[in-house]
Symmetry: C2
Amino acid sequence: MNRFLQVVDVSDAVGTAIRIAPGPVPEEIPADQAPGRVLCADVIAGEDIPGFDRSIVDGFAVRANDTAGAGDAAPALLRNTGRVSMGDPESPLSVTNGTCVYVPTGGVLPAGADAVVMTEQTDTAGDMVLVKRPVAHGENVLMHDEDYRRGAVILPAGRRISPQDAGVLAASGRTMVTVAKKPVIGIISTGNELVPVSATPGPGQVRDANAPMIAAWLQEFGCIPRLYGIVRDERSSFEQALAKALPECDAILLSGGSSKDDRDMTAGIIAGSGEVLVHGITIAPGKPTIIGRIKNIPVFGLPGHPASAYVVLLVVVRPLVARMLGKTETPLVTTRATLGTNIPSQKGREEYVRVRLENGIAHPVFGKSGLLNTLVLSNGLIRIPAGCEGLEQGSTVDVILW
Amino acid sequence: MNRFLQVVDVSDAVGTAIRIAPGPVPEEIPADQAPGRVLCADVIAGEDIPGFDRSIVDGFAVRANDTAGAGDAAPALLRNTGRVSMGDPESPLSVTNGTCVYVPTGGVLPAGADAVVMTEQTDTAGDMVLVKRPVAHGENVLMHDEDYRRGAVILPAGRRISPQDAGVLAASGRTMVTVAKKPVIGIISTGNELVPVSATPGPGQVRDANAPMIAAWLQEFGCIPRLYGIVRDERSSFEQALAKALPECDAILLSGGSSKDDRDMTAGIIAGSGEVLVHGITIAPGKPTIIGRIKNIPVFGLPGHPASAYVVLLVVVRPLVARMLGKTETPLVTTRATLGTNIPSQKGREEYVRVRLENGIAHPVFGKSGLLNTLVLSNGLIRIPAGCEGLEQGSTVDVILW
């Protein structure tokens, strides 16, 4: 029995990837560099936000009771006693029964007032204001703790900081933020047929397309890719590259060929200094994937066909690095579409079919997984579960966008 | 008549934004920095890719004719005359009638062969190979120009370079790429009530949340935000900041208050040195938006409420900067969902309702547009066209994801 033969299904492979992932390492960084990073600790409101009762319209601050029953025919008559200035720290203005104060959008609600009447619903005559609509208590006012109350969780740990979140961080006065360190992911390319991008391939040679693709994907996902170049398919140079990468990286991806020899050598080298946990996944494309570990560093062997490598990045490597970043929400972005053609599928393997989305129709981009052009021509993937024999034209499908 | 009163609908505003946007400026950068950038010129294949006929499986290179009619009971019998090594520049091996050569995945198809039989469909006995399935001409082979033919457009100008595209760029030998320069977008915050993030707001003051939010959004979209700090609501300091920003920026966003005074001052200052093209958009939230131009530099006045500012970024500023980047495809990413509650809407304005997506149900996050928390609690937007009076619970909606 081959000790490496441990073909597992996708959920087992993902489970293994998550299980061996090192947890996030916190670091403090300036808040203006935080967007796109993942929070490593809850952000708590240190004070009420906005901190004072504000008007959300241009209008007159009033006591709501004074406007009861007001209408076009019988407006409420209030005396205007002043005007709030924006950002004025010391407003001596207050509202009593029968009076009102002009307040611009965002201005402080004067003491005594409990609502604001929009300018559009008033007329003025000298210092008198005719209110033509009644307002309720609190109307057109943002209360001092209505956005966030002191002590509330503003943003939870595990959240990727969006542009909107950057606004909330600023509002709460955060100049430094605790986020997960960007994991350093090593990429070692193996294959005697590979030459660097800058070289002109000779007969039988191709440029290493996968390493730059993997690096770009890792960077987009919030990691630091570290390229270790191309090593020949010899145990010694492979082991040398691995020995260099292991102390410098939090995880390592081996981007190799897809031949049986390649897979066996990769598995043999991982097993030599660590353990092979998965050797083959019931996924198409992407079957010849290896998951192992050396000294607690996850070491993955990715398939050599570019489309296979990319699918494995999305389906198996993604949960690994999400866990390393401490990300709690990691749904793949999907959109619903109608399938343009029948897709046959083989039972017993989870299949990912590249599709081109056009006007809500998903057109399968059939093609060998060795073709780069299918990755460029498609803009998404349809997942066909292992137990399914295919999908019919016209059925509704969820397309994973890329 | 107010010379500034030029309220327009959303499509007019977007049209104006695109019309006044400066076009993309090309620059050459190293290909490994290109992912996420926008191509400024087509990338053309300088040679056939992969450049030679390759096997896409582990198997035996054969002449397809030799396998005609082969089956389990009557296998075709071929003599194995050797083994292709990966990346071997000078393969002396060739296939003639009655012979075959072992070739690993990715290996060169030997001269004379026109197909590959997978190992799994053969048995071996000494140097004889028993082929149990017929193969067609070209089967399991990637032809030398099957990925890209010399002269073909690999990636078109205007495309944002994806991780997959980075792989294609590498395969085509591109070490430098011509992309659009990142537009420098100035952000000037105005408002007497605003204090910097690092300050503790006094009574009536709030921290400037919008500028960091806008900056983060611009960065994510591929621009360089340049923050000019907070200026007081006085014509002179406002004009000073604008005079500093104009020669340094490709476009300028004024992040101001939402009061009528703020809007009028912003419009007045733009009109003073340039022209106001739009003053108000029939969009909710986001009506108090100003579009102008000073010396061919687009200058936008954004609304002060954070949710309004964010909607205007997505709907109006996005087409501006997309045009500045030369982006050809700029669809907002949407997903289909079922509406969880009725949403009333006012006819005559295009409304954007924040929603929380959960298990395919879109729950509206109602709340004042001055609230930051609605931006954090929601993860998308539903657009309600100007002619529509609302959407019914249970109807199918497209949610713009954020």
